[in-house]
Assembly symmetry: C2
Homo-oligomer: 201 residues x 2
């Protein structure tokens, strides 16, 4: 955590930090595109312009690299917070909008990577389940006051998961190419209905 504090000399932290950063960025891209199993350490190293041994030097194992690649960018947690701070009214729209806008930007949000890898990688599957339970289900049930809160939250998870898979993983049209506003206008009310609509017969 050495700070770059020297005035007048905007130097680098260390020469190795650059390699580390390039590896990390390449890994994020490849893991997101091909999943954990479909990505090789060698491919990451080649595309990052470094030696494969460097990857292990910095991250120990392939799984260590994967974990490092999943780190959330600092702007995501406050965005999630903001979704639920507004209360139950309009939370459906805010959920859909935040999800789609963040994933369209396709920066470091680890959600696409997790969703792509979860079906065939147990560790990703566990992480995805934990993320959903902690960030979505728990917050939704806290907002709800009905005996079927868990099921309603589950229905919302189905919407968000289905939307993610259809738009970013399997790319089903016309969902994959729809503009953000259309998705918000279409799915926002559906999500809201899952939460505040009449209970099932």
């Amino acid at each position: 955590m050495a700070e770059r504090s020297t005035a007048g000399r905007p130097g680098r932290w260390r020469s190795g930090a650059e390699s580390r950063q390039r590896i990390l960025e390449t890994a994020r891209a490849l893991f997101r595109q091909h999943g954990f199993g479909g990505t090789t350490v060698r491919a990451v190293a080649t595309e990052a312009g470094v030696d494969p041994a460097m990857v292990f030097y910095f991250f120990g194992t392939k799984q260590g690299l994967f974990s490092a690649a999943l780190e959330m960018p600092p702007h995501v947690p406050p965005a999630i917070e903001a979704v639920f701070e507004g209360g139950l009214a309009g939370v459906g729209e805010r959920l859909v909008r935040t999800l789609v806008e963040n994933m369209d930007r396709s920066d470091r949000s680890p959600l696409a990577t997790l969703t792509r890898s979860a079906p065939t990688h147990d560790q990703s599957q566990a992480l995805l389940r934990e993320f959903i339970a902690r960030e979505i289900t728990a917050r939704l049930t806290a907002l709800l006051d009905t005996p079927d809160a868990e099921v309603r939250a589950g229905m919302v998870n189905v919407q968000l998961l289905g939307l993610t898979v259809a738009r970013y993983i399997v790319r089903i049209e016309p969902i994959a190419s729809a503009p953000v506003e259309e998705l918000v206008a279409r799915f926002g009310p559906v999500v809201q209905h899952c939460l505040t609509g009449p209970p099932a017969a």
Copy 2:
């Protein structure tokens, strides 16, 4: 060495067909559980009690085995037909019920296998897209008469895909353990609403 008299008659080819069948059943189970990339021909052979070379003898390549494992059982196409024959009214419930009942039985329905493999296997992804386009989107748009039929069908696909992933692939609770009737009662109306509800603002 018994009757090998007739040249044109295969005689007792049954022993080979049995092996073939055992391989196929094992492959279906493993592909469904671990996807294409996560399943090895050796593992299939071992679990089926045959030699790995037998698998290649019967199916040529791993991809050939995969394709053979994806063959639909004969009772599935009529089930799909029945969903849409009833017209637009109640099609949401029939869609959800048919999907869940068939996949819970987890017989040879290839949908779980395709959905598990699609995120990391291009060929599975293409097959899944084709299946959805042919069996769901096309039939739904034929039933609808609105200018936004494609988007409405897309919304239904999101429901079905999300339900499949949540219940059978990633196993998100409480969706994964919910009784069939609860899912039908909850998601049937939502799917119906996607098709026949008021258009988005």
